[in-house]
Every structure is written in structure tokens, then in C-alpha cells.
């Protein structure tokens, strides 16, 4: 089973009519993943014994019987969950994440867990204990990260939709690199219960799919209040599909000049400018604006995310679950050896940075200062959203880079995130929608809106999708 030409709607119709059986869909999906994943390595765990839910109700549940890929930092009861780390490579959760509970209620099928950068730290899916994932557009290139496995699985047609998580761009950047749609909802829209924490004030679960509508359908299912997550909003969740098939006349679109500077590759800029022109011609009002603190978002983000991560990852200590070093003689050994052997290089770097930025003597200059600059960054957005509905720009400064190209230069890797991390710092909904190709590789257009205004993000993304029909393109890198 290959999903390149399918949508949730088309699958639902075939399942409802009996043209397709959910059992066959499941086994064919697993078989196709196994056949194609030798090229991609998009999955950490594939469930051979995957089964659709019982008593499927196709009329009530649009996702009934449809396999959805789950990033391997979201826990499923009884199913190994590793966060792509050696320290959890034998870990079997004993409870379900809230998004899983909701997908179960909607009768979706789980066929496995997708590859990622270890603990979601990275933007290339090269930092995985289970090896790098390859980009279906060009197998020598990275799929982006950290939700690179989910992105490659969707782009290659292994699944119709996937869950990812986004702390600094981990859904949008791989979506851009793989020529698919990916949305990070507003912080507080989707429960984080069961998402293995990286940066708790930034993390948000979101959806990736080829088609905008499919993400809207999945987001409808996973959003909303949850008693297990005190940071999740009690606001009512709209039907996100109602924002589709709308025109953009009169829509106020801000384009920050900092997002269209020379540091963005010319090919990427041209593709994005083209889409902005399309919007202008359709009656949208385009305003050039400024986000003056853009140059500080990378340090602000890396201080806050790493500080929170350094604390969140302390629980991986070899005591209650996960990897315990074999030769530990005393308690300190258990801690130090289990962690030093269990974590990869990039995770250790972030833990070290975070321990440093929180430590006595550094806190004021680093963590506290970053928390203040975060306020200034939020203020910049508030000002723009006073007069605009959405902010547009490229999702990334370049298209997908080569595997191995940047892994030895962490700073360069960090700077790649400059366009995506503001949405996490400010808690805004943001998505990447395909904006054509440059040099044979996909370009992403990023759309951001006010908190809890996913509606406008979907409206613009859907409009762009209807104009450029990028979903018709087939990833060029896959061998048949």
C-alpha cells in the first residue's frame, strides 16, 4: 500500500464502501513500510502484529482503520518507545499519551514508531541511535529533523499522516525538506501528556501530511483540554476543516524583512516570493514588517530549550527504567556511566549547555536574560499581529543539506533553526506548506498566526496548496 495518491477522505470512502478492508490496509501498509524503509530508515519500530481497532465505525470516525505514524517520543502503552536513544532502547511504556488515547478513540491504527533525532534534539535525524533517516527526494540528503522519520514516511507514501513534535521547528523544517505540510499548533492546543519532554515550555505535538486537509482532520482529533496537562488550554477547539476552501481576499499578510534577507538561499527566496505574489494577486494585502529581535532568537532558544532539557533529562539515571551501565560499582557510577554511555553526543552537548546556563553564577546572564529577551520577541509578534492576520516567510534558509555535511558543526546546525524557533518561543501556531522546488529539492513556506488562530494558518496553507498542487509531485529519490 502506497499513500501518495490517497487522502483520509479517499481512504474513508474506500473503507466505508467495503472496497478496502481495514485488515488488508494494515498488513499492506506494514509490508510496504518494510519494503521501502531499507532506503529510508524512517522507522525505529514497525509493528508486525498491527491490527485495526475492533468495531470500526467509518461514518462516525474519519480516521477509523487508517494507519497513522507516531514519532518515537510519544508513548504507547506496551509498545517500545525509545526517543531514538540508547538509554531507552529497551523501554516499554505502561501508559498511553493523551494523543494516543484520542487517536484510539477515533479508531486509528498504529503501525509503528518513526525515527527522529535523539530526544528530538537536532534538525537532521542524523542524531539517532538507530541510524540516520534519508530524504525520499534525494537519499543522500537529510530529511530534516527532529521529526525526520515522520516526514520521510509521509513524503514517500508509507502513511497518509504522521504525528511529530516541534520544539524549535522539528515538524516544519522536515516538512519543508520533504515537500509536505506540517503544522505545529499553538502551545497549549494539544496535550503534552505522554510526549517525552525536551523543552517543556516549547514542546508541542503536531501533524504532518501531504495534504493540508488531512492534517486538519487529525488535529481535530488530537486537540483539546486534558486534565493531565496543566498547560493545555480549555478553549473550545474549532473544526479546522472549516477554514479550508476559503479565499484570501483582504487577508493581511506580514512579511518580515529579516526573513527574506541574503542569509536565505536565493532559490528558496524566489520560491517564497512567488507564493506571496500569488496571494497578492488573489487580493491579500501584503505588508513588509520587521521583527527586530530575530538575530537573538537562536541564542534565546538554545539557552531556554537546553536549560529545560538539562532538567527534564535528569530522570534518565539508570535507576527505575532504561539503560543501566553494566559495570557500575557505586551510585555515582550508575548515574555517570549510564548517562555517558546512554546518551549521544548532541544530547550531552545540550545537557551540558543547559546545566551551565542554570548554574550558580550563570543563571542571571543566561537563563534570566533569555527569559527577558523572550518577552521582547513575544512583544515583536504582538505588535505585528495588531495589524496583520498572518506572518509569511521561508520555513528554512536552505533546502535539505547532505547527510554528514553539518553534523560536525553544531553551531551551523543551530543557526539553521532561525526561522522556525520564534513560533515556539512565542507559543504561536505555525505551519510549513510546500512552495515548489529549487535545485530539485522542496522549499517550504512558513505561515504563523496569533495564538489559537490555527484557522488562518490552515486557510493560507490550503490556498497555496490549491494553487501550486505540489502534492502531485512524486519524490524523485526513491527507487522503485
Amino acid at each position: 500500500m502506497n499513500y501518495l495518491k490517497e487522502t483520509i477522505d479517499s481512504l474513508n470512502k474506500q473503507l466505508a464502501s467495503g472496497e478496502l478492508s481495514a485488515e488488508k490496509l494494515t498488513t499492506d501498509t506494514v509490508a510496504n513500510i518494510k519494503a521501502t524503509d531499507k532506503q529510508l530508515n524512517a522507522w525505529i519500530t514497525v509493528y508486525d502484529a498491527a491490527k485495526p481497532a475492533a468495531d470500526l465505525d467509518f461514518a462516525k470516525n474519519r480516521l477509523a482503520g487508517i494507519p497513522i505514524a507516531i514519532k518515537d517520543n510519544i508513548v504507547i502503552d506496551g509498545m517500545r518507545t525509545t526517543a531514538a536513544s540508547h538509554i531507552l532502547d529497551n523501554f516499554v511504556p505502561v501508559y498511553d499519551a493523551t494523543v494516543i488515547t484520542k487517536l484510539r478513540a477515533a479508531q486509528a491504527t498504529f503501525v509503528g514508531k518513526t525515527n527522529m533525532d535523539e530526544f528530538a534534539m537536532g534538525s537532521s535525524t542524523e542524531h539517532s541511535y538507530f541510524g540516520a533517516t534519508h530524504n525520499p527526494w534525494n537519499l543522500d540528503k537529510v530529511p530534516g529533523g527532529s521529526s525526520g522519520g515522520s516526514a520521510a514516511a509521509v513524503a514517500s507514501g508509507q502513511v497518509v499522516a504522521a504525528l511529530g513534535s516541534d520544539t524549535g521547528g522539528s515538524i516544519r523544517q522536515p516538512a519543508a525538506f520533504n515537500g509536505i505540510f506540517g503544522i505545529k499548533p499553538t502551545y497549549g492546543r494539544v496535550s503534552r501528556w505522554g510526549l517525552i519532554a525536551f523543552g517543556s515550555s516549547l514542546d508541542q505535538i503536531g501533524v504532518m501530511s501531504k495534504r493540508v486537509r488531512d492534517s486538519a482532520e487529525v488535529l481535530n482529533v488530537i486537540s483539546g483540554y486534558d486534565e493531565h496537562d496543566s498547560t493545555v488550554s480549555e478553549k473550545a477547539v474549532p473544526d479546522f476543516t472549516e477554514f479550508l476552501d476559503q479565499d484570501v481576499k483582504g487577508l493581511r499578510v506580514a512579511v518580515p524583512r529579516e526573513y527574506m534577507s541574503d542569509s536565505v538561499d536565493a532559490g528558496v527566496r524566489t520560491a517564497v516570493e512567488h507564493e506571496i505574489d500569488v496571494l497578492r494577486q488573489a487580493g491579500a494585502i501584503i505588508n513588509e514588517v520587521s521583527l527586530p529581535h530575530t538575530k537573538y532568537v537562536v541564542p534565546t532558544y538554545y539557552i531556554i530549550a537546553s536549560s529545560e532539557a538539562s532538567s527534564n533529562l535528569q530522570r534518565f539515571d539508570g535507576i527505575r527504567y532504561g539503560y543501566r551501565a553494566k559495570d557500575a560499582k557505586n551510585l555515582l557510577d550508575v548515574y555517570v556511566k549510564s548517562r555517558s554511555e546512554g546518551f549521544g553526543e548532541e544530547v550531552k552537548r545540550r545537557i551540558m549547555l543547559g546545566s551551565f546556563t542554570l548554574s550558580a553564577g550563570s543563571y542571571d546572564a543566561f537563563f534570566r536574560q533569555a527569559a527577558k529577551v523572550r518577552t521582547l520577541i513575544c512583544d515583536d509578534f504582538d505588535q505585528i499581529f495588531a495589524d496583520n492576520d498572518v506572518i509569511l516567510g521561508p520555513t528554512t534558509t536552505t533546502t535539505a543539506f547532505g547527510i554528514g555535511e553539518e553534523i560536525s558543526d553544531p553551531l551551523k546546525m543551530y543557526n539553521n533553526d532561525i526561522l522556525t524557533i520564534s513560533a515556539n518561543l512565542a507559543g504561536l501556531p505555525a505551519a510549513s506548506v510546500p512552495a515548489g522546488l529549487t535545485g530539485g529539492m522542496p522549499v517550504g513556506l512558513q505561515i504563523m498566526a496569533k495564538r489559537f488562530d490555527e484557522g488562518n494558518v490552515f486557510k493560507v496553507a490550503d490556498f497555496i496548496e490549491r494553487q501550486n498542487k505540489f502534492y502531485e509531485a512524486k519524490p524523485a529519490g526513491m527507487e522503485d
Binding site: Y95, R192, S200, E308, R320, F367
Partner: protein, 476 residues
């Protein structure tokens, strides 16, 4: 050279909730290891805390009872440290925006009243328990992980160990009477850390602080502080320097022993807990809690000694625990004479509890029973002697005193038409007693009362018999 001591306390109270502070696991005492835990308590990957409202409510009660200012905005922080009983390797506590600040309580030492300041109080989670084996391993039980704690930090206002002792007694009483905690040191629901420094009189800067943690009793606190005062004075007088350190009290020798030397403060890397948004405490809620506060021990003392006319000693015995004070209040409310109720509580009832190592909550006697029995004594239906029999029945079986007295025919004989001839007959039969009485020997009456009691199987009303005998003997 004269020295001045500066003593401070950090007291942890376990708040009396049914479930933990950040997870719904039950709070129990003495359960099998790791049976009262869930994924939150274990710090499983992906879990998040959710705050128990009752923890705030109980904390606010204590804040109000100690004249503290409840802060309008509270926020949790993470205190990072590795230990096997700390599953997340951080404790969720309130570092910068605690529940309340700037309170005080009043203590009295040798008739002198003093106000001791409370710097702040905050709510936080307890850790699990480690048991250290002798075989090179330690064993971790996470049942206690997440039990809610209220930490009360005093100002370093306390001048001497006696005042420190008085502070702890008063604080325990205040907290106990809010009902927010069991305050049992032996079960760990009240835990005391103290610190003391001394400096030459006249010197402004405080001396170097020595800490003592988890002391077993108030008496140990007093003894260890007294020992430290003396030890530190000797160190300074001999030209030495007090080390910033933690010491422990050695019960056997009565001395404090160095446990560890501190090199500056540990680096806990506190930062705001990102998983819990702030909480704004609304005035209306604080008012509602204030209105629901149980009467304080001080107010009860005033009532007992004023309205009820009890002796301060008796009042204080009743006020030793909230349970006994509540029991007494309920008995009085049910119609018991306060003085008689106090006597019974402080002698018979307490005696029974001590002899049987039990508590008011576990015995069959209710305040209504006690009131009923006291009414029977007061209206002359039963004698004090019979009352003891009744008590023995009620306290073990919960039988109604009135029903028991009626069923067993224990009603006191007060009928004059029966008693008068009986008295005459006894005096007639004992002429020597009349002689003794005339010679001023009071014992004579006692003997005659005994005879009548014998004849009536103890049911005769002793007051009435005494009066009748007196009259009869005078008339002879």
C-alpha cells in the same frame, strides 16, 4: 566575652490529603513498598504534574493561623539534585513565589511573651525513602514520593534553646488545630531542621551557621542547640573558627557530631517549573478558608478558662491534641458539665487511652456518651463509683450509659423515705459510733456510710446518706 545566639527553624509538615500533591496516588502510611505509586511518582518519560487543590487549601489555613500574608501569585520551581529517592532528579517546590510570607507566632518562656517571625512558607513534594542494606545495596520505596509538604521557615529571631522549644511547641499546636497535618514526629508528619550561629554581643554580622537536620524530638532540638551554643562559644573563645557545616545529635552522648562540611551552597539550579502555570490566589477563596478555620488553641484556652472556669492546667491538658479538645467541646455541646467533662477527659479517658495505647478515634466512647454519663452523675442518678462501671462498659462496647444503668439497675438510691429508716437502723445498731461522733471522730460517719453502701450494694446516694447520717447523729 558574652555571646548572642541566633536560631532559626525549617519545619516540614506533611499535609493531610487523601492523594499526593502532583498525582492522584493515595497518601498512606505503612503500605507495602512501591504499592502506592504511579507513573507520575516514578518520573516516567512523558508524565506531567497536576496540582491537588487541597494542598493549597491546607497550606492557606496554616498561613492564616500564623498571621502570614498569602501571596497573590504563586509559582512552582524546580530544585535539581540527583538521589535515588528523587525520581525526576528534581523536586517541585516554591522558591521565588511561595504560598505565604511574613507571619509570626507568639511564644511565652518563663512568663515572658515574644513574637517569632515566620519568613515564608511554601508547598512542595516529599521524596521517596531509601533503606540502606548491609550488602552493598540500597533499596528504594517511592510510596512517600509526592506526599505534600508545607515547609515553614522561621526568621532567625530565636534567642535561646528554650525559646526554640517554645516556638516548636506553639507551631505544632497551631498547625495541629488547623487540622492541616497530623504533626506526628514519630511518623514523619512533622520534621524539624534547625540552625544556630553565635556572635559576640555588639557584633552586627551574624556568625557562621551550623545546621542540624531531622531531629527526633523537641527535647533533642533543645539539647542539641544548648550543646551547640556551648561548643561554638568554646571554639570562638579558643581563637577557632566555626565551620559552615551540618551536624547531628547523638542521643547516647548528648553531643552534636560533625556530619559534613559545606563549601558554599549546593548548586540546585532552580528555575521556574514549566509544566505548571502560575496560580493567582483569589481573596474570596482566602476569606472562605478563613471562615472555615477551626477554632485555634488560644481561643479554646480562653473559652475553657473563662467561660467554663477550668484551671489553666486542665485546659492545657485538654488542648494537648486537637482530637481531645474537639471531643471535649462536643461533649460540652451535648450538654455535659464542662468541669466534670474536663475531669473525666483528663483522668479516666486519658488513663484508658494510655493503658490501652489507643486513641479517641478508635474507642467506642463518643462525646454524646460522655455527656449522657455526666448528666446521670450530675442529677444524682448514679454515683461516681457506679459511673466508673458505666465508663468501662461504654468505652469498650459503646453501650449507651443511660440504657446500661437502667438495664443493670444501677440507678442510685436517693429516695428519702427508703434511706431515712435505713440510717436510723444503722445508728441504732452501732451505739459506739454515736459516742465516737460526739467525741469529734469524723471517721465514725465513714464507717456508717460504708454499712449503708453494703446494704444497698453501692447504690445509695452518698451525698444524701452523709447528710442524713449527720442529722441523725446530731440529734442523738
Amino acid at each position: 566575652m558574652n555571646f548572642k545566639s541566633t536560631i532559626g527553624f525549617e519545619v516540614h509538615f506533611e499535609l493531610k490529603t487523601k492523594s499526593k500533591i502532583f498525582s492522584p496516588s493515595p497518601v498512606t502510611y505503612g503500605a507495602k513498598p512501591n504499592t502506592e505509586t504511579n507513573v507520575i511518582d516514578w518520573g516516567y518519560p512523558g508524565v506531567l504534574p497536576s496540582v491537588n487543590r487541597e494542598v493549597y487549601r491546607l497550606g492557606i489555613m496554616v498561613a492564616l493561623a500564623t498571621n502570614s500574608h498569602v501571596l497573590p501569585v504563586t509559582h512552582f520551581d524546580r530544585k535539581n539534585y540527583y538521589y535515588p529517592d528523587s525520581p525526576k532528579a528534581y523536586q517541585i517546590t516554591q522558591f521565588l513565589q511561595p504560598l505565604a510570607r511574613d507571619g509570626y507566632i507568639e511564644v511565652e518562656v518563663h512568663g515572658k511573651k515574644n513574637r517569632i517571625g515566620i519568613h515564608e512558607m511554601h508547598i512542595e513534594e516529599d521524596a521517596g525513602k531509601n533503606t540502606h542494606g548491609t550488602n552493598g545495596f540500597s533499596y528504594v520505596d517511592l510510596n512517600r514520593q509526592g506526599v505534600p509538604l508545607l515547609e515553614v521557615v522561621s526568621e532567625p529571631d530565636i534567642a535561646n534553646p528554650e525559646e526554640g522549644y517554645a516556638y516548636l511547641e506553639k507551631l505544632r499546636q497551631i498547625v495541629q488545630f488547623t487540622g492541616a497535618s497530623d504533626v506526628k514526629m514519630e511518623e514523619g508528619s512533622m520534621r524539624v531542621d534547625t540552625n544556630i550561629s553565635i556572635r559576640p554581643v555588639g557584633q552586627k554580622a551574624l556568625g557562621t551557621k551550623v545546621e542540624m537536620k531531622n531531629l527526633n524530638s523537641f527535647e533533642h532540638v533543645r539539647l542539641s542547640l544548648a550543646y551547640e551554643e556551648k561548643r561554638q562559644r568554646q571554639v570562638l573563645l579558643s581563637g577557632g573558627r566555626v565551620q559552615l557545616s551540618t551536624r547531628r545529635f547523638d542521643e547516647a552522648t548528648g553531643k552534636t557530631v560533625l556530619e559534613r562540611v559545606k563549601e558554599g551552597d549546593a548548586d540546585y539550579r532552580y528555575f521556574p517549573e514549566p509544566d505548571i502555570p502560575p496560580y493567582h490566589i483569589k481573596d474570596a477563596w482566602v476569606k472562605e478558608i478563613a471562615a472555615s478555620l477551626p477554632k485555634s488553641a488560644a481561643d479554646r484556652f480562653a473559652d475553657y478558662t473563662g467561660k467554663f472556669g477550668l484551671k489553666p492546667y486542665d485546659a492545657n491538658v485538654l488542648l494537648q491534641t486537637k482530637e481531645s479538645s474537639d471531643f471535649f467541646d462536643a461533649a460540652v455541646a451535648a450538654g455535659a458539665d464542662p468541669q466534670l467533662a474536663a475531669n473525666w477527659m483528663n483522668t479516666q479517658v486519658n488513663g484508658y487511652l494510655n493503658d490501652n495505647r489507643t486513641s479517641l478515634a478508635e474507642i467506642a466512647l463518643t462525646p454524646a456518651h460522655l455527656a449522657e454519663m455526666i448528666t446521670l452523675i450530675k442529677d444524682g442518678t448514679i454515683s461516681s463509683k457506679i459511673a466508673k462501671k458505666v465508663f468501662a462498659e461504654t468505652v469498650t462496647k459503646g453501650t449507651s450509659p443511660k440504657a446500661f444503668v437502667e438495664a443493670k439497675g444501677l440507678v442510685q438510691l436517693s429516695d428519702m423515705s427508703v434511706l431515712t429508716p435505713m440510717v436510723k437502723a444503722v445508728v441504732d445498731a452501732n451505739p459506739q459510733s454515736v459516742v465516737d461522733f460526739k467525741n469529734g471522730k469524723d471517721r465514725a460517719i465513714g464507717y456508717l456510710v460504708g454499712q449503708i453502701m453494703k446494704q444497698t450494694h453501692g447504690k445509695a446516694n452518698p451525698v444524701a446518706v452523709n447528710r442524713l447520717l449527720n442529722e441523725e447523729l446530731q440529734n442523738r
